[in-house]
Amino acid sequence: MNQRAMYSQSFTIKGGDFINAGTVSVRIKRLLKEIGLKPDIIYRAAICCYEAEMNVVMYANEATLDFTITVENITVKLSDKGPGIKNIELAMKEGYSTATEKMREMGFGAGMGLPNIKNNADVFEIESEIAKGTIISFKINLNGKH
């Protein structure tokens, strides 16, 4: 199997920057569209990226998003510096959230971000260290049914 990267790029996301929040995901989405991937692949990848990006903006100090496309899949790895997640099992539960009032006013913090990434990705991994940060990785297969 050929796992050679066809394209890869890294982005920096700043925590607390609600003005530019989402711009990295929109750039990735436009890129996937230009490449000409199937609409449902683009849709699922864009949602995963956006949810993950908003998590960084809402909870972390900053993060690096590494984005790679191979002939087989789209891989995204998001490593943040931040408080980490105390209880991943709870964080993965729909409806659980530690969002502030400000985040809720913007229409977020319903406790659906991580579960939504899990639902849209073919592979999802999360690793967290308290007071250091969280690493989220997900893959979306380019072929085959989700």
């Binding site: 989402g22 609409p39 990705a121 967290s128």
Partner: protein
């Protein structure tokens, strides 16, 4: 149904160039929570919402929304209007409430459509989680 017909039905103000109102609308989605739009919204839908935060345009682009109608008399700010025009996302607003707006469009035959996720089988994600204390 064309967006300009919806504009008449809901007595909307609009903030986009008129050519954008000639879009054909196939599905609608209504929510005040962006998380719900991202979780349940169908790509290409017309979004009805009372939320005017700037994130609405990012969500619109992620989901290829056909347009946004702000309900309950909510109005987008100038930055949102300018960015939406650049991205060709039509913006409208109505004084009607969300329930009434949806009811009028439903009575005219518009439907919500299934969300993209609901069309799929149960997701088969492999979830691995590790916490370091």
């Amino acid at each position: 149904m064309l967006l300009k017909e919806i504009k008449e039905l809901l007595k909307c103000n609009w903030y986009s160039s008129e050519e954008l109102l000639n879009k054909e609308i196939q599905y609608c989605f209504a929510a005040d929570l962006m998380s719900d739009v991202l979780r349940y919204g169908r790509t290409g839908s017309l979004l009805m919402t009372g939320l005017t935060s700037n994130q609405i345009l990012q969500v619109a682009e992620i989901l290829d929304l056909s347009g946004i109608i702000f309900v309950r008399g909510k109005k987008p700010d100038e930055n949102i209007i300018a960015t939406a025009e650049l991205r060709k996302i039509p913006l409208l607003s109505t004084n009607l409430l969300l329930f009434d707006s949806c009811g009028i469009l439903y009575a005219q035959g518009l439907r919500g459509g299934k969300s993209n996720l609901m069309e799929n089988d149960e997701p088969k994600s492999n979830v691995q989680s590790i916490v370091h204390d």
